[in-house]
């Protein structure tokens, strides 16, 4: 049936700051009938029974009770990226709607970014560039130093798909790898990357030169890294966050960075994003911040989009949904 072949799918917008990408539209329209939020609001009467799917791209549209109530035939919500902390899974499930994300697509670029941020902070790449191009620079000092990544100890907190890929990359830099996770990985997996399990996160924090956060945001991991954890870390340690800003107690982090409790931090994620322009983190020299670009490559965004289309087509047809998130 036509509607099943081209399910009516709600998107926030096409193009613009957080709409679906213009160069994805061709593929999307081959498979879905896209309805923008604007079109929906202007024509609720005609459209509200037709919409079977929502394509959540860059966290939009926001899924709330009101929206769910207005779409009685909604079957599936596909979300770009792996994090689903912005979705109320219980609420959505109470409407009989399935949720899918894109965990595998994001894993390589996010792991790459984690390693990139670790190297950038250890070797002071951003500062180095600023010096190299500054109008005030007259010569390069031989005494301006960074810290080695090769041979150092990396502590990975959260050893899921992304954490494991980070370990695989870090191994090639001859790093000593420690990890902490809800569940221990099996022996073969640990051996393949030379990772040592730390049942107590404190042990990992004490021994690591680099601490990498790669957990999901849940009530258990909210403010996982606070004053106590930062004080356990080495004063020469560098903290890298590629998961969610709320995993760190940001005020405690500012304090730790200002007072040399840890050496520096590299954050792809903060809370909120972006930070207010007068936030203390923006003033610190020993912080690198990137604008949540963990999965931001052309190749991967296209793959994410395709994964989401697959999930939607399956969900609308009542078939098992690839990448379904179970509450």
């Amino acid at each position: 049936m036509e509607e099943q072949d081209h399910p009516y799918t709600l998107v926030t917008a096409i193009g613009g700051a957080d709409g679906v990408y213009e160069d994805h539209v061709e593929f999307l329209q081959k498979n879905l009938k896209l309805i923008t939020m604007k079109e929906f609001l202007e024509n609720k009467r005609d459209l509200h029974l037709k919409i079977k799917a929502i394509f959540v791209w860059s966290l939009k549209p926001v899924i709330n009770r009101e929206l769910l109530q207005s779409l009685p035939n909604l079957k599936v919500i596909a979300n770009s990226g792996v994090g689903i902390d912005h979705l109320d899974l219980r609420l959505i499930s109470s409407f009989g709607v399935k949720v899918a994300n894109t965990p595998f697509a994001v894993s390589n670029p996010t792991a790459d970014l984690g390693i990139g941020l670790m190297l950038a902070s250890a070797r002071r790449i951003i500062e180095g560039h600023q010096m190299a191009v500054s109008p005030d620079t007259k010569h390069f000092s031989a005494a301006w130093l960074g810290e080695d990544v090769t041979g150092a100890t990396l502590g990975i907190i959260g050893m899921g798909t992304i954490g494991y890929k980070i370990a695989q990359r870090a191994k090639a830099f001859e790093m000593n790898i420690l990890y902490h996770n809800r569940n221990r990985r099996n022996g073969a997996e640990e051996q393949a990357v030379g990772a040592v399990y730390c049942e107590k996160m404190e042990d990992l924090l004490r021994q690591s030169d680099f601490v990498m956060l790669a957990v999901n945001l849940t009530p258990q991991t909210c403010k996982l890294i606070g004053k106590k954890e930062l004080e356990l870390m080495k004063p020469t340690a560098i903290l890298i966050n590629i998961c969610r800003g709320q995993v760190i107690d940001q005020d405690a982090l500012v304090n730790a960075l200002q007072n040399g409790i840890i050496k520096s931090a590299a954050l792809d994620v903060t809370y909120p994003e972006p930070l207010p322009r007068d936030h203390a983190l923006l003033q610190l020299e020993n912080v690198i911040i990137t604008p949540h670009i963990g999965s931001a490559t052309s190749k991967i965004r296209r793959l994410m989009m395709k994964n989401m289309v697959e999930s939607i087509l399956a969900g609308v047809r009542g078939l098992p949904v690839p990448n379904e998130v179970h509450g």
């Binding site: 790449i125 951003i126 190299a132 972006p274």
Partner: protein
């Protein structure tokens, strides 16, 4: 006693501390094996020290080794250079005076390979621009379609597969990169297999297929301006060039042209010619360029390892023992 000969061999360095002197923290280690004198001390008491200096430790290209200095050190046996690049030394001249030269290739490899990967990732994922956006007073929201290039699974072409190039390949392999390499000599089959590297006898083949091109060669007359107009045009328009060797390996004017007109996508260079570049140089204005201040092996640990290796090599020469890091003029 001003006429006593020091117990330990006399080692001349340019200076200690400051922006171009030997790191203060390294001095206790050096003093275990040598009587250390600085250029200033030497010039102030040439008569006392001239005949005693057995070795010079060149730290980041200082002191400059010229005919005058060599003439004033009649018993000089060896010059040890910190780092691996020797292009700033006149090897022929030094060898005329019967002085041997050593460098520290082992100590620099890991840190320099790490720098290569750091620049590759920083350029691919636009980390410098990203940071600038994230902290800029004008930023109100983060754009969703702000994208970089995928590193995992991409093709890396390594030009110069010596110790450092090989370490780069080892690291790149963990990112599932496809690795091509071009080198004066082909590596052994088993070495190629370990890192999954394919030999490109013709540099053109490497340039045409690579998403990232990394320069890891020694600067010699053969590698001078190795990458020029022709080479840039062979590269993909989406390619990124990374240089961790020497600025002169690239035709800088051609690179500016290539970057401005989209012949290649971007560049990341730890080395330029000269260093630093003049403040009005066009490379400093380009958005698709990352420049770092020759930080290749500048880490605390590497500095110690470099000095350890230099000391070992100097002592080997002074005691007539064989050593592996001797550098001979071509």
């Amino acid at each position: 006693c001003s006429r006593c000969e020091p117990r330990l061999p006399v080692l001349l360095v340019y200076e200690v501390g400051g922006i171009s002197g030997v790191l203060e923290a390294l001095v206790p280690f050096l003093k275990k094996y040598f009587h250390l004198i600085t250029m200033k001390e030497f010039l102030e008491s040439k008569d006392r020290f001239a005949a005693q200096v057995k070795a010079v430790y060149v730290w980041w290209q200082r002191p400059i080794i010229d005919r005058e200095l060599l003439k004033s050190l009649p018993n000089l046996k060896v010059i040890a250079n910190s780092g691996v690049g020797m292009d700033h030394l006149d090897l022929k001249l030094i060898s005329e005076f019967g002085v041997r030269m050593v460098n520290t290739p082992q100590a620099v490899c890991n840190s320099t390979a790490d720098t290569g990967m750091a620049l590759l990732l920083a350029a691919a994922r636009r980390l410098v621009e990203g940071h600038q956006t994230a902290v800029s007073p004008d930023t109100k929201y983060f754009l969703s379609n702000w994208l970089g290039e995928e590193v995992s699974g991409a093709t890396l072409g390594i030009i110069g597969m010596g110790r450092i190039g090989y370490k780069v390949a080892q690291r790149a392999k963990a990112f599932d990169m496809k690795i091509l390499y071009h080198n004066r000599n082909r590596r052994r089959k088993d070495e190629e297999l370990v890192v999954g590297a394919y030999y490109c006898e013709k540099i053109e083949d490497l340039l045409q297929q690579s998403d990232f091109v990394m320069l890891v060669v020694t600067l010699t007359p053969q590698t001078y301006k190795l990458i020029g107009k022709k080479e840039f045009e062979l590269m993909k328009p989406t390619a990124i060039l990374i240089n961790i060797s020497r600025g002169q390996v690239v035709d800088q004017d051609m690179m500016v042209e290539a970057l401005k007109t989209g012949i290649i996508k971007g560049a990341a260079m730890d080395v330029t010619y000269p260093e630093p570049l003049p403040r009005d140089h066009p490379l400093l204005q380009l958005k698709n360029v990352i420049i770092t201040p020759h930080l290749g092996c500048k880490t605390h640990r590497s500095y110690f390892m470099i000095t350890e290796e230099a000391v070992q090599n100097i002592l080997a020469v002074l005691s007539g023992l064989p050593m592996s890091s001797e550098v001979l003029p071509d």
